[in-house]
């Protein structure tokens, strides 16, 4: 029975690891495909420009292939990509909710870096079936299955009397039993974690992260083992123990996380997608109507970008289509800023709300810490978003002057187009964010352990 339990647990963990690895590999394939598409497209563009420059091809047509508009918006755009999380294979975390790559464009930020599909940015409930789910949700279930009748079964079989007449304290007996049964599950969980991390993780950089995972598994396991002992020390029947422990599991693993989710999105709703699109459209239409006026105002502010006046001709700006479009895009960005800010604010408020209340459930704590150390927590995705926004501005600032000045890009410049480099967050930052989670998890484990030992003392007296 115990062996079957252990085997099933191990099989489920391996399946969870495979499932997480599969998701991670799909991401990797997507990223590889984008990189290849970009390289090929840029090579083609360069060849085309070379042919034009050597007079072998003509630049005539609706849009000059050398123009900033053509290159910065279509033929020369780069991808903004975040490499897979260091231990994303162990925890998908928020990885299936938040974008991990964008295709650049010169259009507005809200158009290019579109993530308004985010309706539940925190997703406290472990969604995907990955190893983190196996540990946060299944691990306690198996711990309960093996330990719910630790003492009650001995009493119901009548063997407790004979055991207690032996020179072994109840504390030593129960601790030994729970550690043997729980320890087997802990070893299975740690083994699958280490195997998965070492086989599919991002090299040696994952060592400290795996260490943290191991610590979280131990602490979390200790918490549930302590709870099992405590419930057993109530001295009730095995059936009562099973019900009580299931209730704890349900509360910590399902009810509290979903209640926090619901409360967070009810208190701080993410602006609706419809509203976002509506405001984008309005801003776009209004800006479009004032198109040429916006452009001249922009050029008044930035005279250096104005097209060089032909010698002898009056310095009147020629409002071409491309220039107006980008003046409009910048105006759209300015006008949609408040809507985006509300979106950001709602996420920040939800995060702050959950940060305060996640201590109610060790499952939420463990999930949060596991995500952090995997690189699939909210902070890393928000960090990527900020870097992407910054790079989007860099891209615009590179091309807009060229567009306004009607400059033509050369084949040599294709190699030196701005390139996005993701700055991976430091381990220190991860540790700093997870420290309170780990501290409280430790506290809860010690509390559960202490409670169980104290209650055993009472149990003995009531025998």
């Amino acid at each position: 029975m115990a062996l079957a339990c252990l085997g099933l647990f191990l099989a489920l963990l391996l399946y969870a690891l495979a499932s997480g690895t599969f998701q991670q590999q799909r991401q990797q394939q997507t990223l590889a495909a984008t990189a290849q598409e970009e390289t090929e497209r840029l090579a083609k563009l360069k060849a085309q420009l070379l042919r034009i420059e050597s007079g072998k091809a003509s630049a005539a047509g609706f849009l000059d292939p050398r123009s900033g508009t053509a290159i910065g918006n279509t033929s020369g755009v780069r991808y903004i990509t975040m490499p897979p999380a260091p231990l994303g294979t162990l925890s998908v975390g928020l990885g299936d909710l938040h974008p991990y790559f964008y295709k650049l464009s010169l259009r507005s930020k809200s158009f290019t870096l579109n993530n308004e599909e985010l309706e539940n940015p925190l997703n406290l409930l472990s969604g995907p079936f990955d190893l983190a789910f196996g540990i946060v949700i299944l691990f306690p279930l198996f711990l309960i299955a093996l330990n719910y009748n630790l003492l009650s079964a001995e009493r119901e079989q009548g063997t407790l009397a004979l055991i207690l007449s032996q020179p072994i304290s109840l504390k030593a007996l129960v601790t030994g039993k729970v550690l043997v049964r729980g320890g087997a599950l802990v070893v299975a969980a740690v083994a699958v974690t280490l195997a998965g991390g070492l086989l599919f993780g991002a090299g040696a950089a994952v060592f400290p992260r795996l260490l943290a995972w191991t610590a979280i598994i131990l602490l979390y396991g200790l918490f549930w083992m302590g709870l099992c002992v405590w419930v057993n020390a109530w001295g009730r029947s095995s059936a009562t123990n099973a019900i009580a422990l299931s209730a704890f599991w349900l509360g910590f693993c399902l009810i509290i996380p979903s209640a926090l989710n619901i409360a967070a999105s009810a208190l701080y709703p993410i602006p609706s997608r419809v509203e976002m699109i509506q405001s984008l459209r309005t801003a776009g239409k209004e800006a479009q109507e004032q198109g040429s006026r916006l452009l001249s105002r922009y050029l008044e502010d930035h005279p250096e970008f104005a097209p060089a006046p032909a010698p002898g001709a009056p310095p009147a700006p020629a409002p071409d289509f491309g220039s107006i479009t980008y003046a409009v895009q910048m105006e759209v960005d300015k006008r949609t800023e408040p809507v985006l800010a509300r979106f950001e604010q709602a996420i920040a408020q939800q995060q702050a709300f959950v940060d305060r209340l996640r201590y109610l459930s060790p499952a939420v704590l463990a999930q949060g810490a596991l995500n952090e150390f995997s690189g699939t927590g909210l902070a890393r995705y928000r960090g990527f978003q900020l870097q992407a926004e910054r790079f989007h501005r860099t891209w615009q600032q590179y091309f807009f002057p060229k567009i306004f000045q009607k400059a033509k890009l050369t084949s040599g410049e294709i190699d030196t187009l701005p390139r996005f480099r993701y700055q991976e967050e430091s381990l220190e930052a991860v540790v700093a964010r997870s420290a309170p989670l780990l501290a409280v998890l430790t506290l809860l484990s010690l509390l559960a352990g202490g409670l169980s030992l104290a209650s055993l003392r009472k149990f003995k007296r009531s025998l």
Binding site: Q157, T159, A161, L162, I163, Q166, P167, I168, L463
Partner: protein, 234 residues
């Protein structure tokens, strides 16, 4: 070897044991007689430290059982009315488990088989699951555990009630043999005949008080029964 010093136990207002003073030497078999509810089980449970005394002391080999819970248990073996064992394990496996709990050491299979044999269990029964054991066979496994533990003290709580006369007799002979090896035995029983046969002393308990003790060598069967019934009458 076993000593009760003004040992008392009360459950609320109910006095289960009232200042018991008793001393049982090595090699003695002391049989505790008395009606249901007289306090026999309470006495044994106090020696086992299953329950704490309201006042007084229980000593095993001079050790206070509260202050030295593990040391005192190392010296004693307990056989309740029915020795409850793991039903899914064989007698041998049960003995192995409890002997290792009792001695913190591992016996070989042949050693364990010898213990069961000395306790009178048929060799072919040793590997059968406990589920198929009769009560008498379970009691023998209990004795085997005591032998494996090399217990100096045996605490028995109505170990023969429900056994057929032959099994009961066999059990008594085992006790006699152990006491000859120097084990001190305290047995609660309702069987006056067995008490007289194998006991060295008998004590009669009534409402928590040990009202009379006598050496079995000094009285006959009928005399003992007479005294017992006399105590029960008033």
């Amino acid at each position: 070897m076993l000593q009760a010093l003004n040992l008392s136990k009360a459950y609320g207002n109910q006095v289960a044991l009232d200042s018991l003073n008793l001393s049982i030497a090595a090699g003695e078999i002391f049989c505790l007689l008395g009606a249901n509810g007289a306090g026999k089980t309470t006495t044994i449970n106090l020696f086992l430290n299953f329950t704490a005394p309201t006042s007084g002391q229980a000593l095993v080999d001079g050790l206070d059982v509260i202050q030295h819970p593990l040391e005192s248990k190392r010296r004693l073996a307990y056989i309740p009315e029915t020795v409850m064992l793991y039903r899914n394990l064989s007698g041998l496996e049960n003995l192995d488990y409890f002997a290792s709990l009792g001695t913190q050491q591992k016996y070989t299979r042949s050693q364990l088989e010898t213990f069961l044999q000395r306790a009178g269990l048929a060799p072919d029964a040793a590997t059968k699951r406990i589920g198929a054991y009769s009560k008498g066979m379970r009691q023998k496994v209990g004795i085997a555990i005591a032998i494996a533990k090399q217990a100096k003290v045996l605490l028995l709580d109505e170990p023969t009630s429900g056994l057929d006369p032959a099994a009961s007799n066999e059990f008594s002979e085992l006790l006699t043999q152990l006491s000859r090896e120097g084990v001190a035995v305290l047995m609660a029983t309702h069987d006056l005949f067995r008490a007289k046969e194998c006991g060295t002393r008998v004590g009669i308990m009534k409402r928590g008080r040990l009202v009379q003790t006598m050496a079995t060598s000094e009285i006959g069967h009928t005399e003992l029964e007479g005294i017992y019934l006399e105590h029960m009458r008033n």
